[in-house]
Symmetry: C2
Subunit: 333 residues, 2 copies
DNA sequence: CTGTTAGCGCGTTCAC
DNA sequence: GTGAACGCGCTAACAG
């Protein structure tokens, strides 16, 4: 395989020679809206087909200084919410002729490296899903005129990025009120990460709504937005048999579902009556009969559409879009 | 945003001027293993930092005729098996300095388009996850010396692609034997797609093993590898109250889990005793207490590692790798 | 509408 | 070890 006959792909020159035209004519034949006569175009296309020619997108991008590629940095593969969002992005982008260059980052530290490399690829935009970018790199992107979208995260710094999130405050408040309205007293909260704006915003609004009703601050554990972490957090919260919560709000559905299963399997608690469990996102799984999870929805399709609109420059001056969701009451709370 | 001051990114020339060296020296400073004196390299790096210079990967790839990018065409976002595999690919690639250009294809027809475009990007390999490629495009890839990997699919055509799959035949046979050993008589099969090699291979081995024991061919329905399709297929298979199956083998775990929930919610059947349900893949969800799904495992990490090894040229002449899994017996069967 | 010309930014000879 | 010169494949600006 190493010393194959070093096949050279046909270039526009080759096609031009075969079709008896100039190389730039070939270029025009492959450029939508270029001025070229139909018959000449046909002849060129025929010659190209014969040779198996395809324009080299790298060369094109080099000239134009930008590629039809969007860099996506992805954090959480475990959470179906983001898988779904990635799917939606792929579809929206495909419709606009954009491609996805995918990076994954397990830690925030690597995000900067990834984005730095994305700049080398002259991507036309960067999307950060569930990860944070340093302001230094945000500035670099701005300097190169590359729009940056933070998906499901916000940032304190102005103009560092366009952010699109669900309505964390409204959602957490709705969950709190629902708990209160159904007479819950010993309420607990399971956070994602402490450095996740999403988790912090949900927590702040949740705590505030409870405090408004004179309740003490909830018990609290950190589930790291993962199933494994959520199981451990549930164990910690319910360890004391004499003082178990009667309601649990988890910062996302993935953790809430893990909590439900742990309560059933390890504590003999059937979520709903004895202890209410609520999540956030309304991932498809939340509606599965095994979980029937009460949650606050984040409309993925809308959120993605807003992000794509921004990238496409179809948006005004707004920097932070909050897409409203709604409380979905099911059997778990 | 449209008429920003049209910022030009610094080039190697700019750095060279600032550092008082030639442009090729700059190139060498950024090329691992190039011969350049340490102090000169330092000076260049300093100048580059000051200017915020990063090599333009597009230009580099244009010269070298290949980019450190692997094209991935992705079919099924709904199935966590593939999400997990994509995650593993991302990690393995990152370790080798490879990037992922992601395409999605809902239909087989679009796969050809996607791959054709990947060729324009001069990708160094193509990975097809759960989709089929026409032999025409496979040939084009071969002509351009671009290795093609079909992940979890096989092809009849020789040398069209490197394929890596789980052990469909052994797995389906193991499930069949397990059903037989536990006294099941009225056995049903839920296929994925009829044009999926994976589904066909599992079906063939499953039917053969049952036939060996003198059982009639199972009842059969098509679940389209989706939750929705699996729910409908389950309804169809269990519609006649007088003749319900006592065992159901689904072509993947995602469908098996949907079947389990449908049996519980709509037919009052608790999988395990009255009716056995088995899947294929051993996705993480299969082990969740709500499902406790009996299944045959496909070791994602191994499969991905084999695929990556092939791309990296660390593999011999083999064209079709079958990675063995094992029967995982849980409560559902 | 068409061909000619001049680069895009960088890696890679090739002399020194 | 270093710089000059060339060219990767293509688009864009220009003249006809």
């Amino acid at each position: 395989m190493s010393d194959a006959p070093s096949f050279r792909n046909p270039t526009a020159h080759d096609v031009a020679r075969l079709a008896g035209v100039s190389q730039s004519a070939v270029s025009r034949a492959f450029t939508a809206g270029a001025s070229i006569s139909p018959d000449k175009r046909e002849k060129i296309i025929a010659a190209a087909d014969q040779l198996g020619y395809r324009p080299n997108i790298l060369a094109r991008s080099l000239i134009q200084g930008t590629s039809k590629v969007v860099g996506v940095v992805f954090g959480q593969f475990e959470n179906p919410f983001f898988a779904h969002a990635l799917d939606r992005f792929a579809e929206e982008f495909a419709a606009r002729g954009l491609r996805i260059l995918l990076f994954t980052a397990k830690t925030n530290a690597t995000v900067d490296e990834q984005v730095a490399e994305l700049l080398s690829y002259k991507v036309s935009a960067v999307i950060l899903m569930a990860v944070n970018l340093s302001s230094k790199l945000a500035a670099e992107c701005a300097r190169s005129n590359i729009p940056v979208v933070m998906f499901n995260r916000t940032t304190e710094e102005d103009h560092a990025a366009f952010t699109v999130t669900g309505d964390n405050a409204a959602g957490a408040t709705a969950i709190a009120r629902h708990f209160l309205a159904t007479g819950r007293k010993r309420i607990a909260y399971m956070a994602g990460y402490d450095d996740s704006s999403t988790s912090r915003q949900r927590e702040a609004a949740f705590f505030a709504a409870l405090a408004d009703s004179g309740l003490p601050p909830p018990r609290r554990a950190i589930g790291h937005y993962s199933r494994h972490g959520a199981i451990e957090a549930t164990r910690a919260l319910f360890a004391s048999a004499s003082d178990q919560p009667d309601a649990l709000f988890c910062a996302n559905d993935l953790m809430a579902i893990a909590a439900i299963e742990t309560l059933r399997a390890e504590f003999g608690i059937e979520p709903g009556a004895q202890c209410a469990v609520a999540g956030f996102d309304d991932i498809p799984m939340a509606s599965w009969p095994s979980f029937s999870l009460t949650t606050y929805s984040q409309p993925v399709a809308d959120m993605v559409a807003r992000a794509v609109a921004f990238i496409a420059g179809e948006t005004g001056e707004e920097q932070a879009v909050v897409v409203p969701g709604k409380l979905i009451v099911r059997n778990s709370a």
